[in-house]
């Protein structure tokens, strides 16, 4: 099945580059690996026929957020391995606790019965037309409120990064 191979390929790329984000010492490399993760997640959105969200995901995350991260790293001149040596015990504790969390999730999901789509019904829920109808009918107020949130975030960012004048 082609779609299953596609799923496994995208998942492998996503998980592998997500691990490399953590492992790599250089922050610039971490940002680039995170972009790879985001693109594979966008591929998953295409696989799920959520075309609007895939486009928005690429534009917002790879286009805006990661560029912001790269700019900040560039501005702070962090493009080298400056991270001081950390003791090994906190690292071991971090890995162990993440594995325990994973175990809890897997144990929760273990007995669940396998659910598959049997037909292609409702396959167009993620198209722009349907999402736009839902967004501007049922979710009109949250949509407008999110613009207020953006304005507040913008004002906050400008205010915080302004140099204090004495």
């Amino acid at each position: 099945m082609l779609s299953q191979y596609l799923f496994f390929f995208l998942s492998f790329v996503a998980v592998f580059s997500a691990l490399l984000v953590i492992i790599d010492k250089n922050p610039v490399h971490s940002v680039l690996y995170l972009i790879v993760t985001f693109f594979s997640i966008a591929g998953h959105y295409f696989l799920l026929n959520a075309q609007f969200l895939a486009a928005v995901h690429i534009i917002v995350y790879a286009g805006a957020i990661m560029v912001l991260f790269l700019y900040v790293i560039m501005m702070l001149n962090l493009n080298k391995e400056i991270e001081p040596h950390k003791k090994n015990i906190p690292k071991v504790i971090a890995v162990v606790s993440a594995c325990l969390l994973m175990m809890v999730f897997v144990a929760t999901l273990k007995g669940a019965e396998t659910t598959m789509l049997t037909s292609a019904k409702n396959s167009n829920v993620g198209l722009v037309e349907n999402l736009g109808k839902v967004l501007f009918n049922e979710y009109m107020l949250p949509f407008e409120l999110s613009s207020v949130l953006f304005l507040a975030g913008m004002v906050g960012a400008v205010f915080l990064s302004k140099k204090e004048i004495h």
Partner: protein
């Protein structure tokens, strides 16, 4: 693209999201660079987004995808404010190491 999803059980998507989420948690606990911690938080948000899109597609209900849209909006605002705070911290402590902020503990 219409029926390409048939043949993939939703469990696979749940396991993928759980794995990505746990990698994000591990990154938050493992690294001390505040920028990397921010990136791991973004990764966790993305894991949840992926799960919501998968459920929305399998359920045939577009509300989940609208919620993903709002999560993206909040994530963008959060990153803008968070990175501004990070710049301010760097200006005061000359590093992005979170251990330099241990005065916040008490």
């Amino acid at each position: 693209m219409k029926d390409v999803i048939i043949g993939i059980p939703i469990q696979w998507y749940i396991y993928l999201s759980v794995t990505l989420f746990c990698i994000g948690v591990m990154g938050v606990l493992y690294r001390r660079n505040a920028i990397i911690i921010f990136m791991c938080v973004e990764m966790m948000l993305n894991a949840v987004n992926l799960l919501m899109v998968a459920f929305s597609r399998y359920l045939g209900d577009s509300s989940g995808q609208v919620f993903v849209f709002f999560v993206m909006v909040v994530a963008a605002a959060e990153v803008a404010v968070g990175l501004a705070i990070l710049m301010m911290i760097f200006r005061n402590t000359k590093s992005t190491d979170i251990d330099a902020l241990n005065k916040l503990k008490w």
